[in-house]
Symmetry: C2
Subunit: 257 residues, 2 copies
Amino acid sequence: MTHGDAIRPEASVPGAATRVGKATGVALWRQVADHFEQAIAAGTYSAGMRLPPEKEVAERFHVNRHTVRRALAELGSRGLVRSARGSGTYVGAQRIAYPIASRTRFSEIVGASGRQPGGRLVASATEAASDVVARSLGIKAGAAVVRLELLRHADGVPICIATTWLAVERFPDAASVYAARRSITRTLSAHGVTDYRRAKTRVVAAAADFDDSLRLDVKPGSPILLVESVDIDMQGRPVLATRARFAADRVEFVIES
Amino acid sequence: MTHGDAIRPEASVPGAATRVGKATGVALWRQVADHFEQAIAAGTYSAGMRLPPEKEVAERFHVNRHTVRRALAELGSRGLVRSARGSGTYVGAQRIAYPIASRTRFSEIVGASGRQPGGRLVASATEAASDVVARSLGIKAGAAVVRLELLRHADGVPICIATTWLAVERFPDAASVYAARRSITRTLSAHGVTDYRRAKTRVVAAAADFDDSLRLDVKPGSPILLVESVDIDMQGRPVLATRARFAADRVEFVIES
DNA sequence: TTTTATTTGTCCGTATGTATA
DNA sequence: GTATACATACGGACAAATAAA
């Protein structure tokens, strides 16, 4: 390896030059990766933008193209960029920061990210509670529950498919109320629940099946974030049991303790 | 459709028979799925066990094989079961419940699940902090940090690859201390940090790259849970910045608010 | 090693009830 | 009310992978 100098791209490369001493013990590929990570974070490269071709990057950094590829692979494995053969490497869309906290409201979260939240009621039905749902809602298995299936989106881009169950006894016409008010919060308040909070959240990852791929507009097999949650009212009684499937490349969950 | 009766498997089927009225508005495939979900939760079918063949299930439930397939697909998409052509459908291994809370310690969490925790130091190095790491640790970009790369496992099964950064100024020989004590907690206490807590956690999902597939023993492209976290000491100063990649089918994150 | 049976995966098709335009 | 689209459910046939003989 005969690159005489530190990693320092030419001025023509967008973004401030990353200046790192040459004997830092940091692998070259990591320095290149850090450079692009910082440039993306700084907005030099925005969502959907194409990065310079690998060959060009290699020349400007005075490293081998394989070193650049190693760096881009690192960023790719974290979803920051995606490479398209014969086309280029593109910056992935910015994920919506989705805080999982006591107060977790889809529309507020999406709105806070500067996007227009939306939800479409895909299906609704009254059914007998399965054991799992019944336990979450603190009711007897087989008791009547309303199931609401929502496709939620931000700026028209699908974010998640959420299935929510409510006990019929407490929320007899949840389906029709939701259809009219188009908001879970307002549906609950129409039934006298003025406030509610998240009690428990369970996060798992899985691969998108064919159904997900159609409804969330992702490729089958791509990662899905599966969230099971229970919300309770101010008296501590469960009001909502939800099972949601998020397109993994569109959200990041943030937990502050 | 001439199945005259409710979903009610014969007594020979393991597990209590699920009795559901025929006009509940619940699709047959969902009833079958609920039955197996409950049976798995109840332990009737334990991890790794093979479910009865689709044909057999169809006969016993008096439904078509396609209906059974739809039910198993639902469970499969949630990772509860996985199907192998020519062999059968198997119950997935139970995930380690990984609480993300103020006190988050790998060995304690794995130990609590009844498994033997372990960790192998894959690599360690002293390097200059990248912008992202520096911001997390509250130090100047370029300041010296120790990077520890750990492969953590439970009962010998790899769970995650964790990369942890510590400021050299505060933890000068973190690498050698960890190598000797084999515990992050003990490494910190050797440097005078008696207690620490999780301040922020960020969860994202991605697909396993080739590297992950080798080290975590998963198939390339299978889902990976990516966790970035910062731990702080009792004075609120950052002590650890960590980036971990979990095999998604081996853990479930639990957040209680 | 070869054969055979088992089991899942993928097609084809038909019919029916329900929600939507 | 009618037409259309969709999800559900069923029946059959065969391919492909696996496991057992």
